[in-house]
C-alpha cells in the first residue's frame, strides 16, 4: 500500500503544504530540463535539417546571467519559505505539557509529570502542546514520529527537546531513526493520541493499577518482553512458560534453578547467565525498570508456571 503518512499534528499540516510546493517546483524543473534535453536531442540529431547558427557570445552571456539570477532568487525564496516555518515552530508554548523521555539500547521510556511511566509507548492528549525533554543513557538515538513529521536526536550527555500539538486521535508509529546498534530496527514504539478526557482517565489509572501480577502482565507486553519471548516470535529467545522453579542449563555449562533472584538478574544483567543455546542478545533493562516493575514481572512469570500446570 502506498499511502501518504498520517498527518496528526499542527506542524504536519504545514509540512505537507510546503512539501507539496517543493514537489511541484522540482517536478517543473525536471520537466523543463528533460524537455530541453529531449527536444534538443531530437531537433539537433546528426543529419537533421535544423538551422544551426552560432550562438553569439552576447546572447549566451545574457542567458547565463538570466538563469543564474533565477536560480539564486529561487534558492533564497525557498530558504525564506522554509526558515519562516522553522522559526514559527521553534519555541514551544509556555503551557506545554512536559514529558521526559529516556532512550536506551533499544527501548523508549517516558515519564509523565504525574510520575506515571510507560515503556515503548507515549500517551498524549489531543490538541494540547506537549514538550519532550529527551536523554539517552548510551548512544545517540532519534525520536521519530512520521505522523507528526518530527524527529529529534537523543544524545547522551545532553538534553534535547521536541514539541508537538496532536490534531488526530489514534495510534502512530514511533521509530528510532539514528542507528544505535543491533536492535536499532526493533527500537519501536507507538504514540497514542487520546482526547483529553480519555487521557486524564488513562493517567489516573496509571500508577499502581491492580495487583503486582497485573502490572507484570501489562509490563511484559509494554516493555517489549513479549516481542521476543512469545513462543510465536521470530526472535530466538527462551520460552518462559513454566520457567519458574525449573533447572536451566547455562551457556557456560552450569545449571541453575530459575528462582526469583535468577529471573531478576536475567532482566537486569542479561549478559551474565545466558541460557545454553541462545545468543546474548537480550537488552539490559537496568535503569529502565524500577524494583517494583521487576518484581511485577517476576510475579507474572511465576503465574505462567501455574497456568501451565
Amino acid at each position: 500500500m502506498i499511502a501518504p503518512p498520517d498527518a496528526a499534528s499542527v506542524s504536519a499540516d504545514s509540512f505537507d503544504l510546503m512539501f507539496l510546493v517543493m514537489v511541484v517546483f522540482s517536478g517543473f524543473i525536471v520537466l523543463l530540463v528533460a524537455t530541453l534535453v529531449i527536444v534538443f536531442s531530437i531537433r539537433f540529431r546528426s543529419g537533421s535539417r535544423a538551422n544551426r547558427h552560432e550562438v553569439r557570445r552576447l546572447v549566451s552571456r545574457e542567458v547565463e546571467i538570466a538563469w543564474t539570477a533565477a536560480t539564486a532568487f529561487g534558492a533564497m525564496f525557498f530558504f525564506w519559505f522554509a526558515s519562516a516555518h522553522f522559526l514559527r515552530h521553534a519555541a514551544a508554548p509556555v503551557d506545554a505539557m512536559e514529558v521526559h523521555v529516556e532512550a536506551k539500547q533499544w527501548m523508549w521510556k517516558a515519564t509523565h509529570e504525574s510520575g506515571a511511566r510507560e515503556l515503548g509507548s507515549l500517551h498524549v492528549p489531543l490538541g494540547r502542546a506537549t514538550i519532550l525533554y529527551m536523554n539517552s543513557q548510551d548512544v545517540i538515538h532519534s525520536f521519530f514520529v512520521p505522523a507528526f513529521r518530527l524527529k529529534q536526536d537523543v544524545v547522551p550527555g545532553m538534553t534535547t527537546t521536541m514539541w508537538f500539538t496532536p490534531t488526530r486521535t489514534g495510534s502512530f508509529h514511533l521509530f528510532c531513526a539514528e542507528y544505535c546498534g543491533t536492535g536499532h530496527s526493533t527500537m519501536l514504539g507507538e504514540i497514542v493520541v487520546m482526547d483529553e478526557a480519555a487521557f486524564a482517565a488513562w493517567l489516573e489509572a496509571r500508577p499502581g493499577s491492580g495487583s503486582l501480577v497485573d502490572a507484570g502482565r501489562v509490563l511484559f507486553t509494554e516493555a517489549g518482553c513479549a516481542s521476543c519471548h512469545d513462543p510465536a516470535s521470530a526472535v530466538h529467545a527462551p520460552d518462559l512458560r513454566g520457567i519458574y522453579g525449573r533447572p536451566v542449563p547455562l551457556a557456560d555449562g552450569r545449571i541453575v534453578t530459575a528462582d526469583a533472584a535468577y529471573l531478576q538478574d536475567s532482566i537486569l544483567q542479561p549478559d551474565r547467565d545466558v541460557v545454553a543455546g541462545f545468543d546474548p542478545i537480550m537488552p539490559n533493562f537496568s535503569g529502565l525498570l524500577d524494583e517494583d516493575e521487576v518484581a511485577g514481572l517476576v510475579a507474572w512469570l511465576r503465574t505462567l508456571e501455574r497456568d501451565d500446570g
Binding site: 506542524s11 534535453v37 522559526l87 532519534s142 544524545v155
Partner: protein, 566 residues
Amino acid sequence: MTLEAEAGRGRPGQTLPRSYLGAGHSVRSWLLTTDHKRIALLYLGTITVFFLIGGSAATLMRLELVTPPGELVSADTYNRLFTLHGVIMVWFFLVPAVPATLGNFVLPLAIGARDVAFPRLNLLSWYLTIAGGVLVLASLLLGGVDTGWTFYTPYSSLYSNSYVTLAAMGVFVNGFGSIATGINFLVTIHTQRTRGLTWMRLPLFVWSLYAVSIVMVLATPALAVALLMVVVERLFDLGLFDPARGGDPILFQHIFWFYSHPAVYIMILPGFGVISEVLTCFARRRIFGYEAMVFAMLAIAIFGFFVWGHHMFVSGQSYYANLIFSFLSFAIAVPSAIKVFNWSGTLYGGHITFEASMLYALGFIGLFTLGGLTGLFVASVPIDVHVTDTYFIVAHFHYIMVGGMVTAFFAGLHFWWPKITGRLYSESFARLAALLMFVGFNFTFFPQFILGWMGMPRRYWSYPDDFQVLNVASSLGAVILAAAYLLPPVYLGLSLWRGKPAGDNPWDATGLEWTTSSPPPRENFAVLPVVDTEPYAYHADRVEPHRRGDASHRAVSQSSDPGDDA
C-alpha cells in the same frame, strides 16, 4: 635521469614508440610501475573488485528487505552489510573511481605532459589505497563492522563490539592515498601543462580534477583526524567525545561532516568534468558558457565546505547553526543549477549522435537534476527534519552518487576505453547496458523517495508491513540494476580480444589525449603538443560536423591509421 637525454626522442617522422601496455609484461613491471597509465589500470582493477564486493552487500540487503520481518540474515549481519557497503563504496570505489582511475590516465595526456609531477608518489597512493582496503577486508573477514560508514560516536568509540579500529584505520590509510593523489594532481596541473595550454584553455575534465583535488587535500585530513580520535578513544580510552566525562558526541559529527560533505563533491565534481567532455564531443558543440562552468566548479568545491551542518539539523545542534547551514546549503544550489542548464544549452545547435557514452551523459543530466533538486528538500530545515535518516535521504544521495557519479564513470570509461586499450567495444551492447542502468536505477531508487516520505527509517533490518510494496519494487529494480552492471565487464573484456582497433581518435574528439596513438606510448607523446586554440573547438574547420558520420565511415578512417598494433 632526464627524459630529454634519451637518444632519438621527440624527432618527428620517426616510427611511434611501443604502447605503454607493451613496455613490460612481468608482474614486477606492473607493481613497480611509475607510469600514470599503468597506475590507472591498477586502480581500475582495484575499484572493480571493491565495486563487486560493495555491490554484493547491497544485493543481499535488498533481498533481506523484500519481506518486513528480518528473515534472510540476522540484524547483526544486516548492520555489518550496510556498513561494509557504505565504507567500500564511498572510500574504495567512488572516491578513487574517476579521479584516481580515469583522471590518472587522462590528466597528463589531456594537458600534454609526460606524466604526473610525482610519479612515485602516484604509485604510493595506489599502495595506500590497497593497504587501506586490506585492513577493511581484514575487518570484514574477522567479523565485520557495524557502525555505519559514518562511525558516529559514542556508538563507534564506546559501544560497538565489532572491528571498528581495524576498519577506521583502513579508511585512515586510504585517506592518505587520496591526499597524495590530490597533491599530485594540483602540482601536475600547475607545473606540467604543455606550451600554449593556458588556464582558460584547459578542458573541463582537467578543471574538474583541479577542483576535486582542492577538496581532497583540504577535506580528507579532517576525516583522518576524526577517525584517529575514534581509534585512540577505543584503544587508549582517552574519552575525547565521551559524554560520561562531559564530552560532546556532536563535535565528532562536525569534524566528520567537514570532510564528508565535501566528499560528496569529491564524488560528483569529476563526474561534471567527464560529462562536459562527452557531451561536447557527441553534440559537436563548444560547451555553453565555458567560464561559467569553470567558476561553478570552483565555487562548488569551495562552498562545499560551508554546508556540512545540514546533515545535523536534528542532531541537537543549535537553531542558529541550523539557519546558517540551511542558508549556505541553498546557496550552493546556484552553481549546480548553472551546470545543468549549461549542459542543456550545449546541446542546442549541435549535430548529436547517440553513442553509449552519450546515452550515459544524457542519463546523468536527468538523474543529477533529480538528485540535486531533492537536495533543496534536505536544505530546508523543516522538511529535512522529517526526511533525514529515512529512505528519502538514501534515495537522494544514491541519485547523486550512483545516478550521478557511477553513470559519469561509465560515460568516461566508454569514452576513453578506445584510448586506454586501443580497441572498440560493441556499441550495441554498450547502449543496451546504458539504457538498462538508467531504467534499473530509477526502478530501484525512486520508490525509496516515497518510502522515506512515508517515514521508513534507514538502516532498518525489519520494518512495519505498510512499507513492503515499495520495498519489493525497489528490490526488483535492484535486480535489473545488478544485471546492467554485470554487462560492461563482459563486453569490455571481450573487446580486448575481439574488438576492432580503435585508431587514434575514434570519436573525432578535440582533447590532446586524442592526438597521440591508442594506446599511448610510455612517454605519452612523441613530440609534446603545442596548443593554440580554446577547448572544444568542434565548430572549427578541421572537425566539420559532417566528417563524423556513421560507423562505416569511421572504420575506413581508422584502417588508414598507421602504427597501431596493441
